[in-house]
């Protein structure tokens, strides 16, 4: 039994109420225990696969505060008016049916010596192997003038759900001919094409509803993902509407004033109607609290996503620092399956197969104008290393672009079914 006695005695009562479902709580039946923190693209997939493949031989507990998971993927299409918010929401009910013990609470601490996770409700959950997939948090002070207390005035909409709805409402309320500004993030950040797909979808909405509106993007990077494809599409569909200011033109020298609703780019102050600030990112805070980060993210071993700091703690998805894979839902899902196979092997002696990773990111530029970029990856001693890749070409026919968009819809259905069962 690996439970830390002191923590357990102290929080037993709270634990009993917070964890009504049958937990491997006192460890009496001797089943190995996996705790997964974060029910997103990485965590939900890992929890489901371990529960499914071990056929009950492993106790799997998923700790996730939200009752619904709102995907960030396709959230730009919601901003564009192509998807509804309901299209993006997924319940955890199916996971419970799949044998995962879902606990709706925040993890607030990890004791790696005692091998327990402490929950906000006070409970302490023991683990044999711990998987953290908490996504991202923002680096404090990354954008001058902005902090989390300004996220209502200037939303990031870079975590799913209410922030996305807020941004959508603000865009809809823009005066005719108003200005939408985006402060784009520096590398590395979740979903490299995400900000640019967002610009496209905001433009798509404005073209129909507010055609004289303007979009300004202040970008600390000199170039960005799928740039050629996006800029071709912007010229074609939204000519004259989008002003992208890269680092070469001072896009990185930016500050905001959420009270006055102004953005200052390289000394020039602009009054804006909506300001979407996407600050620099770091691993979700619980990874830091667990002591497995080094700098902003958690370095992991490519063969199984175990952390460099602790062989019994794994970090998946956006929070990990793994090498060449972009931070995407597809990547997190891919890493989760490699990790699930390794964790199950470690706990039950089942066969462990070689790590294989892949990613494809689709982006929508305008109705039925979809593009994609993807790659396969393998584990080396040093990192997850890229093997092969491809990207959509500029000048593709409308038919190819439409097929690409339809493919992304198929992918969305596929990955969400793969995450939640």
């Amino acid at each position: 039994m690996k439970l830390n006695r002191r923590v357990f005695m102290g929080s037993g009562a709270a634990a009993a109420t917070a964890l009504a479902a049958p937990m491997a709580f006192a460890g009496g039946h001797g089943k190995p225990r996996v705790v997964v923190v974060g029910g997103g693209a990485g965590g939900a997939t890992a929890a489901r696969y371990i529960a499914k493949d071990s056929k009950g031989a492993v106790d799997v507990t998923l700790i996730e505060p939200s009752r619904m998971y709102y995907t960030c993927f396709f959230s730009n299409l919601y901003l564009g008016g192509i998807k509804t918010i309901d299209d993006l929401g997924h319940s955890y009910g199916t996971m419970a049916a799949g044998g995962v013990n879902v606990v709706h609470d925040w993890a607030v601490g990890v004791d790696r010596d005692a091998k327990t996770v402490t929950l906000a409700g006070g409970a302490s959950v023991p683990y044999d192997q711990l998987i953290l997939s908490p996504g991202i948090d923002f680096v404090e002070g990354a954008v001058a003038g902005w902090d989390l207390s300004s996220q209502n005035a200037m939303p990031h909409a870079y975590k799913g759900g209410s922030q996305t709805e807020l941004l959508k409402a603000q865009i809809a309320a823009m005066p005719q001919g108003g200005t939408f500004a985006m402060v784009a993030p520096p590398n590395p950040y979740r979903c490299p094409p995400g900000p640019y797909e967002r610009v496209s979808m905001v433009a798509h909405y404005l073209k129909a509803n507010n055609p004289t509106a303007k979009i300004i993007v202040a970008d600390p990077k000199p170039k960005f993902s799928k740039q050629g494809l996006f800029q071709e599409g912007w010229g074609k569909h939204y000519s004259g509407m989008i002003d992208w200011i890269g680092d070469d033109f001072g896009g990185g020298n930016v500050s905001v004033d959420p009270g006055a609703m102004t953005v200052t780019i390289d000394g020039e102050v602009t009054k804006v109607d909506v300001c979407n600030v996407i600050p620099a990112m770091k691993a979700g805070r619980i990874a830091e609290l667990a002591g497995v980060t080094d700098g902003k993210f958690a370095p992991v071993n490519a063969i199984d996503m175990s952390t460099k700091a602790d062989a019994d703690v794994y970090v998946l998805g956006d929070a990990s620092q793994q090498g060449d894979m972009p931070k995407s839902g597809f990547s997190a899902n891919s890493q989760a399956k490699v990790c699930a196979n390794a964790v199950r092997g470690a706990l039950t002696g089942s066969r462990v197969f070689p790590a294989k990773f892949s990613n494809t990111c689709w982006s929508l530029i305008d109705t039925n104008d979809g593009v994609k970029v993807g790659a396969t990856y393998e584990a080396t001693d040093e990192k997850i290393a890229k093997v092969d890749g491809f990207i959509s070409a500029t000048g593709e026919t409308a038919e190819v672009r439409k097929a690409t968009y339809e493919e992304s819809e198929g992918w969305y259905a596929g990955i969400t079914a793969d995450m939640f069962g």
């Binding site: 696969y49 597809f330 899902n333 891919s334 399956k337 196979n341 066969r351 197969f353 294989k356 892949s358 494809t360 994609k372 993807g374 790659a375 396969t376 393998e378 093997v387 092969d388 890749g389 491809f390 190819v400 097929a403 690409t404 339809e406 493919e407 992304s408 819809e409 198929g410 992918w411 259905a413 596929g414 990955i415 079914a417 793969d418």
Partner: protein, 255 residues
């Protein structure tokens, strides 16, 4: 997407030539075409079977018709006119196709025409992941072509194979490999990020219930960059022969 994929799949006949490689046969399409042009088209005054033969290329990814036609991903199409939907023994159908047949759907020129225009609007959950043929002439030509392989038509007595695929070099030993199904199950998890385990064909084709050999050939065709789809070329490109066999073993165990 669906149409695109469909266009590039060519599983038809496999034969072993002297060089020991398997080849997809290039059939006797031109001979047939000449025959139809003079014979059928004028007789029926409707579709042109010779033009239909070209349209049929879109179907060949999954369907065979002619002398040696067998059920592959989809049912063989000899005598399709007059056949009850979902009614051919040994072929794999969706539940909804079988239901449609039980409800009385029989393939006639009219029902085929509407099915081919938009398969899912006639049989909502058909396994046929084909977008449909918008052009009424394409449909008429295709139906004329299929009619020539149905009973009572002139073509039926002169059946030929219709294979005109693309050569894929595959050592017979590769096709004969017995895969490790447990490894295949692990590898298949990578497929499921996009291909739904329910077998749904929306946007991305379903991959359940494929004949093993077709699956292996299709994967090698991607690997050799003969079938065109960048994601699949990439995914298959790094699978070893053993891994493709493992996947095939896993998928054939399903159901």
């Amino acid at each position: 997407m669906i149409a695109l994929l469909a266009c590039f799949l060519f599983p038809v006949q496999v034969s072993i030539r002297e060089d020991g490689f398997l080849h997809r046969n290039r059939g006797t399409f031109f001979v047939l075409a000449a025959f139809f042009l003079t014979g059928m088209a004028q007789a029926s005054g409707m579709g042109d079977p010779a033009l239909g033969a070209a349209v049929f290329k879109k179907c060949q990814s999954c369907h065979q018709v002619g002398d040696q036609a067998k059920n592959r991903v989809g049912p063989q199409l000899n005598d399709i006119l007059g056949r009850t939907a979902g009614g051919l023994g040994g072929a794999k159908y969706s539940k909804s196709m079988i239901q449609a047949g039980q409800d009385g759907l029989v393939w006639s020129e009219d029902t085929l025409d509407s099915f081919l225009e938009r398969p899912k609007s006639l049989v909502a959950k058909t396994r046929m992941s084909f977008r449909g043929l918008k052009d009424p002439e394409d449909r008429a030509n295709l139906i004329a072509y299929l009619r020539s392989f149905s009973k009572g038509s002139i073509g039926a007595s002169n059946m030929q194979e219709t294979g005109q695929g693309i050569d894929i070099k595959l050592d017979p030993s590769v096709l004969a490999m017995v895969g490790d199904a447990e490894y295949g199950e692990y590898l298949s998890s990578e497929c499921l990020t996009c291909h739904q385990s329910s077998g749904s064909n929306d946007g991305i084709p379903g991959i359940t219930a494929w004949p093993t050999e077709d699956f292996v050939i299709a994967m090698h065709a991607y690997k050799q960059k003969i079938r065109s789809h960048p994601v699949m070329q990439m995914m298959a490109g790094r699978l070893s022969d053993e891994e493709i066999a493992a996947l095939a073993a896993y998928f054939s165990d399903l159901e």
